[in-house]
Amino acid sequence: MHLQIATRQVADAVIAMPVGRIDHRTAGEFEAALTPLVAAAAAAKGALVLDFSRIEYISSVGLRVLMIAAKKMREREAPLLVTALQSVVAEIFAISRFDRILTVTATLDDAMALCSPAALAQHRAGSSPAP
């Protein structure tokens, strides 16, 4: 089982969207994919937004990867945001108390609003329906 992660730059923020389950089988792939994104975002002091709208499940091992990423971002004063959790994943975040130690937003729009005005503007422009 492979974990797919699509990324895109939106102004000074990077949005990463993993797809699937992050469990003991795929957490290594998740960590390997996340590590360079964290390094780049932290170096640029830009925001990294994890769009979890297509993550069905995350285990303790996957949450640990998030913890490490958040710590590295915090050391460089760069924001890490997790957004658009599916209901099961939102419950896991609440039960594990990760919702208290990570910045979690309900929607991608909310997350971009916390990144920067430029990121929000470009995100909204990019997601607007064509005239």
Binding site: H24, Y57, S59, S60, V61, L63, R64, M67, V88, E91, I92, A94, I95, S96, R97, F98, R100, I101
Partner: protein
């Protein structure tokens, strides 16, 4: 093995309800009773039915002590926390003039797991036999030191029972009064050991004061093998996962999330949350239990896992 009885379930430090805590519980029950018929005993009982456990009971405050009822005349106990005192009084009441034998298995030698021994009534009774098992080299010395002056007024010479110490080799199964016992090294400051008890077709695992490094797959596999097929796993779920791997990393404890995951992988029948955080009140432990049951529900595979939270006085039939 017939049952497991919990005499001490609190982690790190014994705690007690305060007068204010009791008053709050009474007020809550009176509010729930408002406007309801209370003429008969059944009416009164019915008020309590449906109220949360925290409203009508308490998880208790004794530190770790768990009895495994093997079905035989000899007693099996895990750890000698402050819960050993009420256990000892209960066991002595069963004595009826006949000498008793106690097999006590030590997870480790931290204070909260040994503090009950100086108050263990059966150890004072001539004719009794107390066999203390463990895998720490300094087991006997640690227990003697606890009763050395100036920490305690009387040393081991006060004990009338015959005290014996048995070193267990981790991973090597030993037959004790009809029960097969295997210990396993766990991650905790100064090391701790989990125990797997097998007898009469039942399996109980006692795994407290055990931290699980999530990055090490082989660690998880080792515990899955140790837990595999157990009827009951008594599991250190002291912290939330977030705390256990951040501010309380390397403190030697685990979480409800890891307990559910390991027990699901090991096809365990019943997970019992244990070694409760001493700062948690009854409502907080109720909440952890409800959340853990919900986690099991939303992650359930082919093997449903029953989840409970241990309280002082709780008995689980096997």
């Amino acid at each position: 093995m017939k049952a497991v009885r919990f005499w001490g379930t609190r982690g790190s430090l014994p705690v007690a309800l305060t007068a204010r805590d009791v008053r709050e519980k009474i007020l809550g029950v009176l509010r729930a009773a408002r406007g309801r018929p209370l003429a008969s005993e059944a009416d009164v009982e019915s008020v309590l039915t449906g109220l949360p456990f925290a409203a009508v009971g308490t998880y208790g405050g004794h530190s770790s002590c768990v009895q495994i009822d093997s079905g035989g005349p000899e007693f099996f106990v895990c750890d000698m926390g402050s819960g050993l005192r009420p256990f000892g009084q209960w066991a002595t009441a069963q004595r009826k003039g006949i000498a008793q034998t106690f097999h006590i298995f030590m997870s480790h030698l931290h204070w909260d797991h040994i503090m009950g021994l100086p108050f263990f009534v059966p150890a004072f009774i001539a004719g009794n036999r107390v066999v203390i098992y463990g895998s720490h080299e300094g087991l006997e010395a640690a227990l003697r030191r606890q009763q050395d002056k100036p920490s305690f007024p009387v040393d081991f010479s006060i004990f009338g029972a015959k005290l014996e110490f048995v070193h267990l080799e981790p991973g090597r199964t030993r037959e004790v009064a009809g029960v097969a016992v295997t210990s396993m090294l766990q991650r905790h400051a100064g090391d701790s050991y989990g125990y797997r008890f097998e007898g009469q077709g039942k399996v109980v695992v006692y795994s407290t004061d055990s931290e699980h490094p999530l990055a090490q797959a082989e660690h998880a596999e080792r515990f899955v093998r140790f837990f595999h097929g157990a009827d009951l796993v008594i599991f250190d779920a002291m912290y939330s996962l977030a705390d256990a791997i951040s501010v309380k990393a390397d403190w030697g404890h685990s979480s409800n999330i890891v307990g559910v995951e390991l027990c699901q992988m090991a096809e365990v029948r019943h997970l019992c949350l244990f070694h409760h955080e001493p700062v948690f009140d009854d409502a907080a432990i109720d909440a952890v239990l409800a959340e853990t049951r919900r986690l099991e529900e939303i992650t359930r595979g082919a093997h449903p896992l029953h989840v409970s939270a241990a309280y002082d006085g709780m008995e689980i039939a096997l």
